[in-house]
Amino acid sequence: MKLVVALLSLSWMVMVSVVAADTLSGSGILDPGKPFRIDSVRLRYTFFDQSGRGYQSLAGAGARGPGSEQLSVSEPQVEVIAHQGSRITHRIWAPLDVVSAASPDAVDAISRASRYQEAGGIDVASTFKADRDNDVGTRFAIHLEENYRSWTMGLAWTRHMAEDNAVLQASVNQTFDWFDAYNLGGSNRGREARSTTNANVAFTQILSPTTVANLNYGFTLQTGELSNTWNTVPLVDGTHGTEVLPHLRTRHALVGRLVQGLPWNGSFKVSYRFYIDSWGAIGNTLELFLYQRITRWLYARATYRAHFQRGVDFYTQLALLGNAFRTADSDLADFSGQTAGGKLALELPLRRIRVLNVDLAYERYWRTNDLRVNVYSASVGTTF
């Protein structure tokens, strides 16, 4: 099964690459004689293998759970970056997700969306260099699933200051989602909608020839049906009810990052993130990356991440019948999570193409509330 999914994913990546190359060729991007040029093409394939148990799932659960959260995700991505003249850069990116058992407890009388999902999208971001110090950008994206449609558009502005030693970036994104909603009995209760408005401000400063610092603040406002509509909640009377979430959520995230070069041809990155939202969730996340160049064209990376989360106010493993809001989703509970992993990356200079990039990575994510994910990822790309 995994092999079939991998082969399907691979064929999809090849197809998208061919279509992208053909389209770009038609518009002159592949012709070196014209003012269009492909800068890089990159493919990445990732496989997520998840196991654990959560109270939102009924799969293999007793009367009051928890049920299985076993699933796997096969995720190919392709990215093409191209220049149009000297001032416009396009990034064309197409991710695909094939999810097995997205929520195995659901009663899919009409849809099979909770058991097996294929989701794909295309995201086009274009940047225009307005003058020496200012860039403006646009973004359009669509995302399709069996029972789900999503459309995103965005605007971005970048200001380069102090001879490019400091960069200020601001962006706004708006996403609209439409999806089918289901009752616990499996009947379709019509279309639901969700709106997500996201604004970000980021500031990057070079502090020394080997040090860069970055500060990022993001605000997100979500309205509409924020549940997937098939998560269940154990009730005190021994039955199960649907998850009920507020129809408004405001979220704030502040991230500080620092990159420091090390004297032995390595580098060190540290990142701290604070998150708070109107549902009562609070997060503190520390991330560390250690890089070491082994040769000029080969480097290794070690990663560690620790995440401490206070869950939402209305998380419960056994809800009262009169609760206005309720969720038993283990992702919204109190927990701490850790990730550890490594990566080996090759950057091979070749004659016809400037650099061939290949990498292999593995990470393991585990949580205190019974969830584990093994992540395998591989990438191949070329820079022209």
Partner: protein
């Protein structure tokens, strides 16, 4: 929060590293975002499994709708 923003704005131009001394910063291992595709797969892992993920340059929500 305001203090951090004020300090960030005031720090502009405090340090100016000339272009000919920034060679090391061009190395991939010195990039803040080493690989956007890898950043996406990492943010996907966390934003679909943690209530307190997303919102920092990555639109929260979308996808599986499990948040």
């Amino acid at each position: 929060m305001r203090l951090v923003l004020v300090l960030a704005v005031l720090s502009v131009g405090c340090v100016v590293v000339p272009q000919n001394r920034r060679g090391r910063l061009a190395d991939r291992i010195m990039q803040l975002d080493e690989d956007p595709l890898e950043s996406y797969r990492r943010s996907k892992l966390y934003s679909t499994r943690e209530a307190a993920a997303g919102g920092d340059g990555v639109s929260a929500g979308g996808g599986c709708g499990c948040q």
